[in-house]
């Protein structure tokens, strides 16, 4: 055993760090640090900077414009990016669709879509969930019926994250109703500017509308937008989900949240002393830190196995459950640290307004909305209950 990073890995970390220091725009880092909302333009700006350096698509092959980093390098980048308050990369095109196209798409599809993800021409969203198909994803009902060289799509998707910014959506659609659930699903790419597509925002508990409902009403989709084979979509969907899950562990986000929390606890007065000297708060803070120290290593153990070529299977479910609980606990503590200042709801401030009164210390304004928003971590990407079932079946063989 050697818990140290190799020299190359340390050199890589230093390179990433100095790149971030030189290139991450202040206005974007500041918004991320304070939990303010990023605009579409902010996201596009940061993506373009990373793309210019060849670092936008960490996991893609170099041949398609990716960085071709292994799992450990990707982890190092994520940690540094989070600590520098770089925004989270929107995963739908980069780390969800692209691996599916690389593994199962046609070369034509790769040539057509991958460059446009890098350039920012296309913004993708994920059309998996439906009102009746949540945890039971294979119950999707959105129908795609072949009509000449088009599929005609009818149905509804929901919880479509950032669908309001997207011009493309990858969907699970039902192409065969005669067979058992999983066997009749196809993976279809749909241009959201096609007639018959309607997007409606859903306001969430934090006051923001980051998710949407997407309706399809006789939407005509050319057959060349089918990925892989008709009715085989479930295989691709599951492949995509393991990619989704490894990203959800989010150790880098926890590191950054812990750093913020420690800073806040040291600088918040409570009963005449700093909050980090309040024994009850300090104990909670220490517990999360201890858990996070172990989590970092759990994550690296899974990741370095993956870097040697072993695909993370049910282990990614462990990362998801523990990683999301830790992130939620950190946001819960930040909310508590904010004290009464966590109460005001200040949408104008959170939407980025610089001249808007924060009504308290600047970190406090986003404390409660972020806490509520992060409830999603244990619900999406396969709810934590579903992950525990996977763990008990696949690892414990119960």
């Amino acid at each position: 055993m050697d818990l140290n990073y190799t020299e190359e890995q340390e050199a890589f970390r230093a390179e990433v760090r100095s790149f971030l220091a030189d290139n991450l725009p202040d206005h974007i880092a500041e918004k991320t640090r304070l939990g303010k909302q990023l605009t579409k333009a902010d996201t596009e700006e940061w993506n373009a900077i990373l793309n210019a350096r060849g670092w936008l698509a960490a996991n893609w092959p170099k041949a398609y414009g990716g960085a071709e980093w292994n799992a450990v390098e990707r982890q190092i980048f994520e940690e540094e990016a989070c600590l520098a308050h770089a925004p989270r990369l929107v995963p739908f095109g980069l780390t969800m669709l692209a691996p599916v196209l690389l593994a199962f798409g046609s070369e034509e599809q790769r040539q057509r879509f991958l460059p446009r993800i890098l350039s920012g021409e296309d913004w993708w969203c994920q059309g998996y969930s439906e009102p009746g198909a949540g945890s039971d994803l294979a119950a999707v009902k959105t129908r795609a019926v072949l009509d000449g060289d088009h599929y005609v799509v009818n149905g509804q998707k929901t919880w479509t994250t950032l669908g309001q910014h997207a011009n493309w959506i990858f969907c699970l659609v039902r192409t065969n109703t005669e067979v058992k659930n999983q066997a009749g699903i196809s993976f279809l790419l749909i241009d959201m500017n096609t007639p018959g597509v309607t997007v409606r925002p859903i306001k969430l508990i934090d006051g923001d509308a980051e998710v949407n409902e997407v309706f399809f009403d006789d939407v005509r989709v050319p057959v060349e937008n089918l990925v892989g084979e008709q009715d085989k979509g479930w295989t691709y969907a599951k492949y995509l989900l393991t990619h989704e899950r490894t990203n959800i562990a989010g150790v880098g986000f926890s590191d950054a949240a812990l750093a913020t929390l420690k800073h806040v606890a040291a600088n918040t007065a409570s009963g005449g002393k700093p909050l980090n000297q309040n024994p009850h708060f300090a104990a909670r803070l220490a517990q999360v830190e201890i858990d996070l120290m172990a989590m970092r290593t759990t994550n690296l153990r899974v990741i370095s196995a993956a870097a040697k070529g072993q695909a993370p299977g049910a282990e990614s479910s462990m990362l998801k459950v523990k990683g999301t609980l830790l992130r939620q606990e950190l946001t819960s503590l930040l909310r508590r640290a904010a004290g009464p200042d966590a109460m005001p709801y200040l949408p104008d401030y959170l939407e980025g307004g610089d001249n808007v009164d924060a009504m308290g210390p600047e970190h406090a304004a986003s404390a409660a909305p972020t806490y509520f928003n992060m409830r999603k971590l244990s619900i999406f990407g396969g709810a934590n209950e579903i992950q525990r079932t996977i763990i008990s079946k696949a690892i414990l063989e119960l």
């Binding site: 859903i202 508990i205 409570s270 009464p340 909305p369 934590n384």
Partner: protein, 382 residues
């Protein structure tokens, strides 16, 4: 032992429950919040006509209740319905202080509070105070016959809607001394008063109040100079009971919604309530809510006890309510899945209120520490 409410209180509860079921539906409330309006004035008036505000005051102060159980009955129903009308601020906090410290002339205001014509707010919290009730840095300085207030008050519940603010200010002593704090009645439109109102995360309304050379006379003072601290602690104890009972009502409502959802939502061909992973957690939620109910009973029953006994119960109850409130909010959202996170659905509103109640009058950690200190000071005699 008798854990039943008196006949009068049972009637009060039934009447209030019926009224809120009829007049306080979630859709209307959500639209009101969206419009940015702090509360529905018609509802406040109707509640006043039903005598709900009168239940907060004793007979000698112009009401017909005023005891701990009166407060808890009313606020449990408010919690169940998600009531945002300014009754905590006006009757429980402001009104209690006027009743406790006011002279006959000042007490005339209570009639208007009970009738819903007048709204009061307590402007006590300050930027540095966090949950420390004695941390008052707003100054009240004599200038000839006048008293001049300067300072900033934060998180003033319904500060933007009150005609009169009950403002605490220091006339003597150091920043966190108990002695030296006075209360003043200040018109919200008095020169030098600047009110910055906003909505809280849970839809209730609050404000920051800046006081710049606000000139008052001794007749605006409530009670004796520098001697308001105990009355403030009592008012906050009553407020803590109110929000604890409110949290209990909100927990019940969140639980009912979730149990209904577990029976109705189907995944994998069965209602999700058939999954033992959820059944056991819902059972735990229920057990904890029953604990919360007992904690509220404990506090309500000790509201009129001596201050040391009462405060031990204040801290015990608020600590438990904070813990259970968070559990109920988090678990009920989780068991709903995505739907539980939407603004349109009532559950998210209950979850927000439950969570914000942890930030009112002291959170879990604050009251744990206070409980330990009070318990040690009592020498284990309570």
């Amino acid at each position: 032992m008798d854990f039943n409410l008196t006949e009068e209180r049972t009637m009060l509860q039934d009447m209030l429950q019926r009224f809120l079921a009829e007049r306080y539906d979630h859709e209307a409330r959500r639209k009101l919040l969206e419009s940015g309006t702090a509360y529905d004035a018609d509802i406040l008036n109707e509640l006043a006509e039903l005598g709900i505000l009168g239940a907060i005051f004793s007979e000698e102060d112009g009401g017909f209740g005023g005891a701990g159980f009166d407060i808890s009955v009313v606020f449990e129903e408010f919690g169940r319905a998600g009531v945002i009308e300014p009754i905590l601020a006006s009757a429980v906090l402001g009104g209690s202080l006027v009743a406790a410290l006011g002279n006959d002339e000042q007490k005339e205001l209570i009639e208007a509070v009970v009738g819903g014509q007048s709204v009061l707010a307590l402007a006590h919290g300050e930027p540095t105070a966090r949950y420390d009730l004695s941390d008052v840095r707003t100054t009240a300085a004599a200038d000839g016959n006048a008293i001049v207030l300067n300072g900033t008050k934060t998180h003033v519940i319904n500060g933007g809607q009150a005609g009169k603010l009950i403002v605490s200010a220091r006339e003597s002593g150091a920043d966190t001394d108990h002695v030296g704090i006075s209360l003043f009645m200040v018109s919200s439109d008095a020169p030098g008063v600047s009110i910055n109102a906003y909505q809280n995360v849970d839809g209730t309304s609050a404000a920051r109040v800046d006081l710049t050379d606000v000139r008052l006379s001794a007749a605006d003072r409530l009670g004796d100079a520098g001697a308001a601290f105990e009355a403030i602690e009592t008012a906050i104890a009553r407020g803590t009971l109110a929000v604890s009972a409110e949290a209990l009502g909100a927990m019940d409502a969140a639980k009912d919604l979730t149990v209904g959802y577990l029976k109705e939502r189907k995944q994998f061909g069965v209602p999700i309530g058939k999954f033992q992973a959820l059944q056991h957690r819902m059972a735990d939620v229920l057990i904890e809510i029953e604990q919360a109910r007992s904690a509220v009973v404990n506090l309500a029953g000790h509201m009129e006890a001596d201050a040391a006994t009462r405060d031990l119960h204040v801290s015990a109850t608020k600590n438990l309510i904070g813990r259970v409130g968070t559990l109920v909010a988090e678990e009920t959202i989780q068991m709903h899945g995505g739907i539980g996170m939407t603004d349109e659905y009532a559950l998210s509103h209950f979850a927000r209120r439950l969570t914000m109640i942890d930030h009112l009058f002291g959170d879990v950690d604050h009251h744990l520490e206070r409980f330990i200190a009070l318990s040690a000071a009592s020498g284990g005699q309570l």
